[in-house]
């Protein structure tokens, strides 16, 4: 069973991620009073890019992007999706934190070999921005792990089914708010679109990608979108299970376990959709910050909230 999910989960994640990408273009267009491309546009683009000629700058240039997607796929296997988490027992949240590094690192190595300063500037900005949101993020994760006394994300999700969502449990409230404040930065959307910045540094790390590299980069983008939101839903919005507990018990007793998996997965996806649409609205109304402004913002209120959240958790305990 686990093996089947290991194959299906990345595919599901990819479909959700790519759907979100298409949806974001549609919603953004409607906010701008345009008609916008169809939701399937990213898939069409991927297929088209694959058949186009591309240029390569060397082996690392090719391998970097492959490693980046592979890293993302492994992260997906570590994240509980509804009731499913194929690699739950292999290291927990800390491993996820580290595995999430593989994707940007792969892109950074791949882009580095392309010898284009636009890429280097983009990567340098990505790392700085990451440091910016990682400081509040680490405080948030530490307060979660201290509060639930575990380093396993599966246990955090399970604990929320008994105790209610983290974001509405009082000791974790500040951490939750702080997470919401840094979520756009984690996803790299406006006002934190400093890494790509198309008009400024020619899409940054993407500058040299064409043909199948561009297609793979889009796939990677879809995965990272999924991971960014799924982590938030798992940590603060209770994963999936809690809405359906009575139904779930009935179905499991009737021997229809796969329907439970499907329903929880659906609930999980719906939560992700809500979070994503909120993020899109933020994306639509804000202009891009400069990198210093972004850091200054991230190190002020979100960090303060997250720090206070950790102190509160330490004082209140469980």
């Amino acid at each position: 069973m686990n093996i089947i999910w290991m194959i299906f989960l990345p595919i599901i994640a990819f479909i959700i991620g790519i759907f979100f990408l298409g949806l974001s273009r549609k919603i953004m267009a409607r906010i701008h009073w345009r008609y916008g491309p169809p939701v399937t546009q990213p898939i069409i683009d991927i297929i088209r890019s694959f058949s186009q000629r591309s240029v390569s700058h060397g082996i690392l240039f090719n391998l970097g992007i492959v490693f980046s997607i592979a890293g993302s796929i492994v992260v997906v296997l570590f994240l509980p999706f509804g009731k499913i988490c194929p690699l739950s027992g292999s290291g927990g949240l800390l491993v996820i934190l580290y595995l999430m590094l593989l994707a940007p690192l792969g892109i950074a190595l791949s882009g580095g070999e392309a010898a284009n300063p636009n890429i280097s500037i983009g990567i340098s900005r990505k790392f700085i921005l990451a440091l910016g949101y990682e400081i509040p993020m680490l405080f948030i994760l530490l307060s979660l792990m201290t509060y639930y006394k575990t380093i396993s994300i599966v246990e955090i999700v399970e604990a929320q089914q008994n105790m209610g969502w983290s974001i509405i449990s009082l000791p974790l409230l500040l951490s939750g708010i702080s997470y919401l404040l840094v979520l756009p930065a984690i996803m790299g959307i406006r006002p934190f679109e400093v890494v790509g910045a198309p008009q400024e540094i020619s899409s940054g790390p993407m500058a040299e990608y064409g043909g199948q590299f561009l297609a793979l980069a889009t796939v990677e983008h879809a995965f990272s979108l999924f991971i960014g939101i799924a982590l938030f839903v798992n940590l603060f919005l209770g994963g999936s299970g809690d809405i359906l507990v009575p139904v779930e018990n009935f179905l499991t007793s009737a021997g229809l376990g796969c329907i439970v998996s499907f329903l929880t997965g659906l609930a999980f996806s719906l939560k992700m959709l809500v979070v994503f649409v909120i993020c899109l609205f933020i994306n639509a109304v804000y202009p891009r910050l400069r990198i210093e402004q972004a850091i200054r913002y991230l190190w002020r209120w979100p960090t303060l909230f997250a720090f206070a959240g950790l102190v509160i958790v330490l004082i209140v305990g469980r």
Partner: protein
């Protein structure tokens, strides 16, 4: 076979190598490699044995002992391997330089004395080997002359301060217990008053802290590491500073004992907690100072200070997981930092001494093996999953979080971010980007440099995928300190509070990579283009200057650099300035006039008479 034989071979190997160098260079190279490899084999043969014997009776009324247990074996094998590989690396690195015989003598002497340190069973022989190590290190650091002399001077002065502190500690121990044999001390010292133990700890902390470059004793390290010859930097950073770590283990867990150590002081003011905080600070500040460096070796040197912080944090925190992590990180750091110094050494060798990160670039096409070494080393340093660094860092994070010290965990985690910053900068500025015209004929690293790099890279990946191999040895050490045994498999650690399974991660990554690679291959074949064939928004791509390296993290520099001055170093430099001035003033009494000297003598005798008349001190 006895330990005595091992040390005799190690030390005499150094001397024989030196003498043979006068006859033939080739013979000397062979002997140096043989001597260092012999100690690897011999140490490996001692695996699992526990020995204690006197080797030279009655030195100043004291018995000298040699001793081997799991802890010293673990350190000894690391020393032997890193030492041997750095000798192999030296073969071509040092060939065209002068005073090569002397270089080999000192290298082998350092290795032998480090073996002596970890194998000595009493503090007198410990001290003797310690001093041999310190002085030969000093000679090697200043090998290149010029600024290296100042760096060596800085090192030896701080080292002497540490040694004196250790000597005082030893004398006090001898005065109290009449013995300096470690096992006998371990039986007596734990029952001493806590004030006395604190006094001892502070003295030995000074001694070992200087070697281990713990804040505030770290200031010698960046200069020394960047000025020393690269193969020796590998030894220096990989194992020599870890003699301080060994000292910490010896004094804290062997002599004083776990229980006494943990119960020294109370709550937030307990000694081990303060030491942990010191470790945490040693992680954060140097890791971010490293980001600001433009000299490749200086960057790595600061990184060493930061990584030593993880080890100190692991030792000081005092749970079985944290000590496991500290010991494992010692091994890991020895491996990947030696590897990285060798990488930088190879680049330095081929570019004729260029270490400036702003003037290199694009070397991946010219030195592929060196690049792979750099990549693996950097991944280990960051702690990317499937490298050894990941396991040790995972262990320390886990124990800090679950034992309720999230702020220490935060320090450790944020230090890793600093590590990512400077690691990528190192790789990007040296190997990626545009290859400057002047380096277009550069050759790849010589074979004798590639071998150690390949071996180290393999070790990093092997221990990352199958961490059970070293963890099993480490577990024996940890149980010998009086902890419960951990549940260790070949692929990690399993416990109730969270398991780690690296093989799962490995398989998942490999399968994912293969699938994506196949998908990538299904697309149209990409056309390989030159480095100048770049997107520049329609503008001309300038040759040679199209590499963004200077001030790589400029926005960050501007924000954090005012806070990241090395204030302690500035203070020490001021202190030496004041001392120099004071001594300059005192020197003025030597006027060169005999009349003045006679006056001093008369005054001094008058003082003595005055004292005798008033207090009658001398009977």
């Amino acid at each position: 076979m006895s330990l005595k034989l091992l040390l005799i071979i190690a030390f005499s190997g150094a001397l024989v190598t030196y003498v043979s160098g006068k006859l033939s260079q080739r013979l000397r190279d062979v002997l140096a490699v043989l001597a260092s490899c012999a100690s690897v084999v011999m140490v490996a043969l001692f695996y699992g044995k526990s020995i204690e014997n006197a080797f030279y009776l009655v030195f100043l009324d004291l018995d000298l002992y040699l001793r081997l247990n799991t802890l010293s074996w673990f350190f000894a094998i690391t020393i032997a391997i890193v030492g041997a590989l750095s000798i192999i690396f030296s073969l071509s690195y040092i060939k065209k330089k002068e005073r090569t015989d002397f270089y080999y003598l000192m290298m082998l002497l350092v290795n032998a004395s480090m073996l002596g340190i970890v194998l000595s069973g009493d503090l007198v022989s410990f001290y003797i080997f310690w001093e041999i190590m310190s002085w030969s290190t000093f000679l090697l650091i200043s090998y290149n002359r010029g600024p290296a002399l100042a760096a060596g001077m800085k090192y030896i002065i701080m080292s002497i301060v540490g040694s004196v502190a250790m000597l005082i500690g030893m004398l006090s121990l001898y005065g109290s217990y009449g013995t300096l044999v470690i096992t006998e001390l371990a039986a007596d010292v734990p029952s001493a008053s806590s004030g006395y133990i604190l006094f001892l700890l502070l003295l030995f902390f000074t001694a070992f802290g200087v070697k281990n470059a713990v804040l505030p004793f770290h200031t010698w390290l960046p200069d020394a590491h960047s000025e020393a010859p690269s193969p020796f930097s590998a030894v220096l950073s990989g194992i020599l500073i870890k003699m301080g770590t060994y000292g910490f283990f010896l004094i804290i867990y062997v002599v004083i004992g776990l229980k006494v150590f943990l119960n020294l002081g109370q709550g937030l003011l307990s000694f081990h907690y303060i030491l942990s905080i010191l470790g945490a600070i040693t992680i954060i500040i140097p890791s971010f100072i490293a980001v600001l460096q433009n000299d490749a070796k200086r960057l790595l040197a600061w990184s060493t200070v930061g990584q030593a912080g993880y080890i100190i944090l692991g030792i000081a925190f005092g749970t079985s997981l944290s000590i496991t992590s500290g010991l494992f990180h010692f091994l890991n750091h020895a491996v990947f930092k030696a590897l990285l110094f060798m990488v930088v050494g190879a680049v330095e060798y081929r570019t004729h001494g260029v270490r400036d990160l702003n003037s290199l670039g694009g070397l991946i096409k010219k030195m592929p093996i060196t690049f792979i070494g750099a990549l693996v080393g950097v991944c280990g340093l960051i702690g990317v999953p499937l490298t050894n660094g990941f396991i040790s860092k995972w262990l320390i994070y886990k124990t800090l979080i679950l034992e309720g010290s999230p702020f220490l965990a935060f320090a450790a985690l944020i230090g890793t971010w600093g590590t990512i910053f400077y690691s990528y900068k190192l790789i990007h500025n040296i190997f990626l980007g545009q290859l400057p015209e002047k380096y277009k004929d550069i050759k790849k690293a010589p074979f004798s440099m590639q071998i150690p790099m390949i071996i180290f890279s393999l070790i990093i990946v092997l221990f990352g995928i199958l961490p059970g191999i070293p963890l099993k040895v480490i577990n024996n050490i940890v149980t010998s300190f009086g902890f419960e045994s951990l549940n260790i498999n070949l692929w990690g650690i399993s416990s109730e509070t969270g398991t780690l399974n690296t093989v799962n991660i490995f398989v998942a990554v490999i399968i994912a990579v293969i699938i994506i690679w196949l998908i990538y291959k299904a697309g149209r074949r990409a056309v390989k283009v030159d480095q100048d064939n770049n997107y520049a928004a329609g503008a001309y791509v300038p040759r040679d200057r199209y590499h963004y390296t200077v001030d790589f993290y400029n926005p960050l520099y501007r924000m954090i650099s005012p806070f990241l001055k090395d204030f302690i170093d500035i203070f020490y430099v001021k202190l030496t300035g004041w001392t120099r001035k004071l001594c300059g003033k005192i020197r003025l009494v030597y006027t060169g006039d005999v009349g003045n000297y006679v006056m001093y003598i008369v005054l001094f005798i008058a003082l003595l008479i005055f004292i005798q008349l008033n207090w009658s001190v001398w009977k």
